[in-house]
Point group: C2
Chain length 438, copies 2
Amino acid sequence: MLHQNAELFLDKIQNNSIVVGVLGLGYVGLPLAVTFARNGVKVLGFEKSSAKAESINRGENYIADVADSDLAAVTNETQMLEATADFSRLKEVDVALICVPTPLDKFKKPDMSYIEAACEDLATYMTSNMVISLESTTYPTTTEEFILPILQKNGLVHGQDFWLCYSPERIDPGNKSYKTHNTPKVIGAIGEDARVLGIALYELAIDTLYPVSSPRVAEMVKILENTYRFINISLINELTLLAGKMDIDIWEVIEAAKTKPYGFQAFYPGPGIGGHCIPLDPFYLEYIAKQYNFDLTMINTAGRIDTIMPHRVVVKISFSLNKQKKAIKGSSILFLGVAYKPDINDERESPALKIMDEIAHKGGVVSYHDPFIPEVVIHDGHRYESVPFDDQVISDADCVVITTNHSNIDFEKVAEKAKLVVDLRNAIKENHDNVFKL
Amino acid sequence: MLHQNAELFLDKIQNNSIVVGVLGLGYVGLPLAVTFARNGVKVLGFEKSSAKAESINRGENYIADVADSDLAAVTNETQMLEATADFSRLKEVDVALICVPTPLDKFKKPDMSYIEAACEDLATYMTSNMVISLESTTYPTTTEEFILPILQKNGLVHGQDFWLCYSPERIDPGNKSYKTHNTPKVIGAIGEDARVLGIALYELAIDTLYPVSSPRVAEMVKILENTYRFINISLINELTLLAGKMDIDIWEVIEAAKTKPYGFQAFYPGPGIGGHCIPLDPFYLEYIAKQYNFDLTMINTAGRIDTIMPHRVVVKISFSLNKQKKAIKGSSILFLGVAYKPDINDERESPALKIMDEIAHKGGVVSYHDPFIPEVVIHDGHRYESVPFDDQVISDADCVVITTNHSNIDFEKVAEKAKLVVDLRNAIKENHDNVFKL
């Protein structure tokens, strides 16, 4: 049995007479907003960047995982999605889905300022009878202990005036099979009413929901998923460094291990872990663990491996040049790919930038090519523009470093034309005397 | 093109006019011997224990993963398998498959004595024209740098008189789907002749072979597979300890994380890692890594978590008793299951024994029930016999600890009858006030 307010709100959801607010229209919020809108739910998207909000209102897409035609359909055609930079319009919504970033500061501490700002805006403008759901990855207890007090500070009461859930996004940028609507979604709520309303809400847009008993369980689920990846990538990176010393091709080892039909999942080495999830989320857990007087030794150890990987790559580049009697200083070094994974236009936390930075500081003449990223700014503020990809550029470089295995680059040609290649992604399958792998 | 000797030997294999020797008739060797014999290959098994060898010759099975009828068929009926404790009969075989244990000594260093003894026996009795393959898990370089010199010491020459391979066993005791014949088998050999002969040999009995470029790659494959498991069990154990402090049910978290349709594989917490593979194999790699001046920090860290888990369980038992105003000292504590995993009769490296040992030393009155293991000897030499499983035994104990979730135990009844339960395996699904989970 729901309380009366909740019962009325449930009717409102089930009659689809709600307006869903999505806070933050990035790689999580925009696909989510479009998914609801495509299912005939009225969506108002909130985005601090007026430029982005205006772009959406013109039907112009900026997120690779959203099909241009899907965005155009819900803006220009059905007009189920509108975007705004005016957060006072939170007054107009019945639902708020918080999809703001949760980065780390430079000391690897959670930067909760985006979540805090979104909740402060909500506290200021929200009206009675709202469902609020956080989608950002964060440490367990955030929903109950960080968000709830902010939302209640102006007198509205949870369970009576609003209902709070946590339902972590599971976006995998570039994944062709699993999108927002068909990736099972975990949801934890504070109390039974919030649970029923949260499920009813998401059922308007998401194929499969998996309810858990509390927000903190749902928060831990997301952290576990990404910590698992973090730990395993770090393990394979460490084993790769050992394998290199033992004259063992780790890529061959992984392919063979994959033939075990149970109990193994393959992870691949690389120059370090990039992106906005895997290298960050474990440190959210480490942050809260410290408050419980608990030391997360696996995350800690994996973090050290990840931190050192770009430097180990610089050493690899140096020793590869050494075989041709060259030093880093004065050598021209071309990096192929600065995105943190193939076929996306996102260079956040990309190890390529850290490697470029160190090579430049050691006197290397750095350039890069990335078909998805026209320019980057590295740690010291230096700005690089992507150079064209042609035979001359490849053969002129003293060393070509494959940092990202974008699928539209012909790596066999690189192996043929280049003087020296350091292949960090096993992009070149054939054996060549001038190619050295991680 | 094979060399002439190898060409002749290949004919011999393909005509099935070989005798295959299997050295060590344990949980790896006996299934392998039976698999070859069932495929019409003449097998002579070598086993130091005369009692075991005689048992086999009577068609009496002692390995759970071998069907009694399969053993009887190849001994009593077709007589394709014979066992002996007389290693001088190695003179009679054309092939030697080495399936001896590779344990750790008490300082967690590889104990290579079984492999060494097998190779010494081979060196003494082997004749020209043999294929020798090692199946035991071991550190990379073992085949080329440890075994090869022993085999050559009496004048026979590799590539001319014999051919050496490494093909790691992938036995998963108790696995109902994957047995010796249908688990893909990795094989690495020294040189092209050994590779061709090794593949031809195993093709007589194994459905799918996966050849790799060298023995050391194959050695690393097996270590990677088990190190992956070791690391991930240790991670989930550490997260479980934190989750306990944060009032988060880790079992619920894992079930929810499993709904992610990509990039996640579930591992489950427990009182520590048992058995003869997962807790040992990573330390084989650590051993050789030190010779390469390399510190395997992930294995190290995971090892520390694994080492401490039985003690953490003792603390958990103590704090659970504390809620009922009881101490360990003088309390009767019944352990359900001493096998290291469900439904097998193997207690090697089982954390249950370590927990029983510590509880006994703290003055607890220890007993256990295990339907598969009638008696055990723990660290201090104390011997226990399995007590009967009945309502009286359960209700008499001050605390029942579920250490192994054997499928033929009614754990819901345990929850109903016991005063207090510490459930280390999530065996009890319903909520009970007297049940505490890891």
